[in-house]
């Protein structure tokens, strides 16, 4: 049993609790853990849905029940229940919705990836679902570690610049010769040998959020107070433009060197929102948006792949665009899949999502839309929205600016990532390669998003335990 941290408990509780474990344990036993009980209840429902999804996939696609993946799925349930127990011990006032939502999305993702495996005839280590399950275990282990190690999120504030440095290194890693890997045009992967490929950019988004939060809390005054008024808005001084230009340059280099439009948009969007939250100045947002739009327009004129993305988006059904190499074939196949799903979908295991290229990663939402229908997509979007809302709650209710900024930043990055990838598949914006949080096949994405979930849990726990300052 760890000694009680100063982050939890009220002033009377924190400082004076006896160091021996026994009274603490007794006290915990006697306190009804309403939030954790709600979480357990929701978690059991989520595990039940996940198991049902796998069984339905097997019945739909195989026609019989096969125990291997059901057992693996049970392993996932055991892990999330472990995490629940850890929360009971070290973060018992954490938000009760975050863990069940993450588990449910993760489980549905595995069921759909498994469904694609069946269609492709993959089994054993060839099977993406088996790998995804193993990655999920690793990701949840990471999340448990985060909750255990980081007892107070303010620790992260100390490492603001370290986080910034880590983010830049992670971003640069794929460009290192011999280490970087190029997958379908984008150079955002690293790999050692042929095994264990990883997208460091996914982890970088967490480091960036930490860095932005710390940096902005430190420098908000100079960024928000001074500057010239112009057109009714206060614009920043030239010398304060440094950070936004650096992040802009970073995003642009991701577009140019790593050929990854989605990630660039994600980082820049995250930065702009956190900047706006910290300074309350719309002028920053306008400035940032015009910088990014300008860069994107120049990129679309000069970089072939960006230009192609725009053409595919605007004129997807045109036979010429459809037939072109790197054309809208995939996008249109995804649309056909969604159309096939209609309102209620074909049922798990009964559609043909495998017709669409990469149906288990970038296009998993189209695969789910085909088999679960509009109803299923609405449910998934509602889960994401709820997840994000729980994160925003930290921002609304928190009373330290670093925690508020970090909580909102991390949940916004999930929301923005959903928007970029699902919006790309459904033609709201041009298609860019990003993973759907928790759902899509991909280890790095799972690890990153589970760490985000863990950080949000920790932040929400701190929030409840902080005494409200009455001024």
């Amino acid at each position: 049993m760890m000694p009680p941290s100063n982050s939890r408990g009220t002033a009377t509780d924190a400082g004076h609790r006896p160091q021996s474990a026994k009274p603490g344990r007794v006290r915990r036993l006697h306190l009804p853990q309403k939030l954790r009980n709600l979480e357990l209840f929701l978690l059991l429902i989520a595990c039940g849905i996940n198991a049902a999804a796998v069984v339905l996939v097997q019945l739909g696609a195989l026609g019989h029940i096969d125990t291997t993946l059901v057992l693996l799925g049970a392993g996932l349930s055991v892990l999330v229940l472990c995490m629940h127990v850890v929360l009971r011990l070290v973060a018992r006032d954490a938000d009760p919705f975050i863990l069940p939502i993450a588990s449910l999305l993760n489980g549905i993702g595995i069921a759909m990836i498994y469904r694609i495996d069946i269609a492709n005839g993959d089994a054993g280590w060839e099977s993406a679902a088996v790998r995804q399950t193993v990655w999920s275990a690793l990701a949840i282990a990471c999340a448990i570690a985060v909750v255990l190690v980081i007892r107070n999120h303010r620790v992260l504030f100390r490492y603001t610049y370290v986080a910034g440095f880590i983010a830049v290194v992670l971003l640069l890693l794929p460009l290192v010769p011999g280490l970087g890997r190029e997958v379908s045009g984008a150079r955002v992967w690293i790999g050692i040998g042929s095994f264990a490929t990883f997208q460091p950019g996914e982890i970088a988004k967490i480091a960036l959020a930490v860095f932005f939060a710390g940096y902005l809390v430190r420098n908000r005054d100079s960024l928000s107070m001074v500057g010239k008024r112009f057109l009714g808005m206060r614009f920043p001084r030239l010398r304060d433009l440094g950070p936004i230009l650096v992040v802009w340059a970073l995003s642009m280099s991701v577009i140019i060197f790593q050929r990854d439009l989605g990630t660039a948009l994600l980082y820049f969007g995250l930065f702009l929102v956190m900047l706006y939250l910290a300074t309350g100045r719309l002028s920053w947002v306008l400035l940032g948006m015009s910088l990014f739009l300008g860069g994107a327009i120049i990129a679309s004129q000069t970089l072939g792949y960006v230009n192609g993305r725009f053409t595919n988006w605007l004129d997807a059904l045109n036979p010429d665009v459809y037939g072109a190499s790197g054309g809208s074939y995939q996008l249109v196949q995804g649309l056909f899949g969604l159309a096939k799903g209609g309102l209620i979908g074909t049922g798990l295991g009964q559609g043909r999502p495998d017709i669409t290229p990469v149906p288990q990663s970038d296009y998993i939402i189209a695969s789910l839309g085909e088999e679960l229908g509009l109803a299923g997509i609405f449910a998934i979007l509602a889960l994401y929205l709820l997840f994000v809302a729980r994160g925003f709650r930290i921002g609304f209710a928190g009373n330290d600016d670093f925690g508020k900024l970090l909580g909102v930043g991390l949940s916004f990055v999930v929301a923005l990532q959903c928007f970029i990838v699902i919006g790309g598949v459904t033609r709201v914006i041009p298609l860019t390669g990003l993973t759907t949080p928790f759902l899509a096949a991909g280890g790095s994405s799972l690890v990153a998003n589970w760490i985000i979930a863990a950080l949000l849990l920790r932040l929400s726990d701190t929030l409840r335990n902080q005494p409200r300052l009455v001024v």
Partner: protein, 483 residues
Amino acid sequence: MNRELKRVSIVVMLMFVALLTSTTIIQVFQADSLTADARNTRTLYDGYSVERGAILVAGNPIAQSMPVADDYKFQRTYSNGPLYAPITGFTPINGSPTGLEHALNGELSGTSNAQFFDKINSLITGQNAKGASVEVTIDPLAQQAAWDALGNLTGSVIVTEPKTGRILAMVSKPGYDPNLLTVHDNQKVTDSYESLVSDKSNPLINRATNALNPPGSVFKLVVVTAALESGKFTPESTFPNPGTFQLPGSSSIVINSGGGTCGGGDTVTIATALRLSCNIPMAELGLQLGDKAIRDTAEKFGFNTDYSIPLNVSQSAYPLELDDAQLALSAFGQTSVRATPLQMAMVSATIANGGVEMAPNLIDQILAPNLSPLQSFEPRTLKRVMSAETAATITQMMVNGVRDGAASNARIDGVNVAGKTGTAENAADDPYTLWFTGFAPAEDPKYAISVLVEDGGGLGQTGYGNLLAAPIAKQVLEAVLNK
């Protein structure tokens, strides 16, 4: 910070609303058009894995899916294939379906919106989805009679019910056997298909709905309707009766069929001109009416419009731009006037039905797999094309045409047949196109008919409507009237 946070929350909300909207648009509003897209392989595969519904004539299947022990699970078979091929079309394993198999693909394969609850039901019960069956309006006796009467000629016979628009017979020759195109062997299907496509007689065309020929004299029914409806002419209106007529602004000359004047005398009435099917008086009438009056009436009958029965029907055409010479020629269905047999049957049926045109229709009802009706098709009025008086007047002229005029070979003892023949010229040396259209019994019309014989009926430029087309109509009408 909370004010900013509120604004950011709204932005996040809007992002999700955008996603909800876009998925709704794709999965609900665009779903039908995306499903119908020719590039959509999902739709193609789905067609094979469900048991397609049957196409029924008088309760008996003319197209049905029989279970077989291969990957496709079902073999589409057509009983009496060539006879019903223009109606059924076919569903190949490696291409798009045609005919009703295409037009009602959604219903037959069980994916139409009307079958939504059946889909849910099969989802819950775990039974395989089945397509709906389609009961067509075809009368097997009329269909067989039309098939037999047309013999080995190239052309089409179509019989409709004037009061309802129901299509009782629809024959197109030369035919083909759809069973050859539904075997489960890609190569065999492709071979059969290519030999049919390269066949110069175009067996895959449904001539009843999609062959466009100059209507020739049968179009005079439309011109006379325009004349009487204008109020400026009566059946007794007279025109000069020369033996030749020079087209305005042209050196070409129009003659009556058979040469000479129209029934003798210095002048000739519209009634006589229609009964004897003379060209010169019609040319004179056309010039006096003007192309707008003729075009308006033709369009009321359905020329220059698309419709579906639900097979797609080609647009019959009355040209939009005509000089005087062309106007004169168009008055007896030449120049670039074109008509389908179905369109000409609709002209006769409208006259038979007192001037009211009914929507032509091939489908009686669509039946769910448990045989409960999903959708029934009631007779639908398209519009009133002419007054009841005009219709009665033209009926009388058509009856006269059969009794002692140019359509005499359609005469049936004891029944008043109303009819009009046509012998249309194609390019200078090409064989004529021969027509008959009419209805019977004239006083209480039960059947409207239109007969098309292409390729001169094998007689080049010596055949004519009354010689070849009228006897076919007579044979079919006798068969259905004796029922």
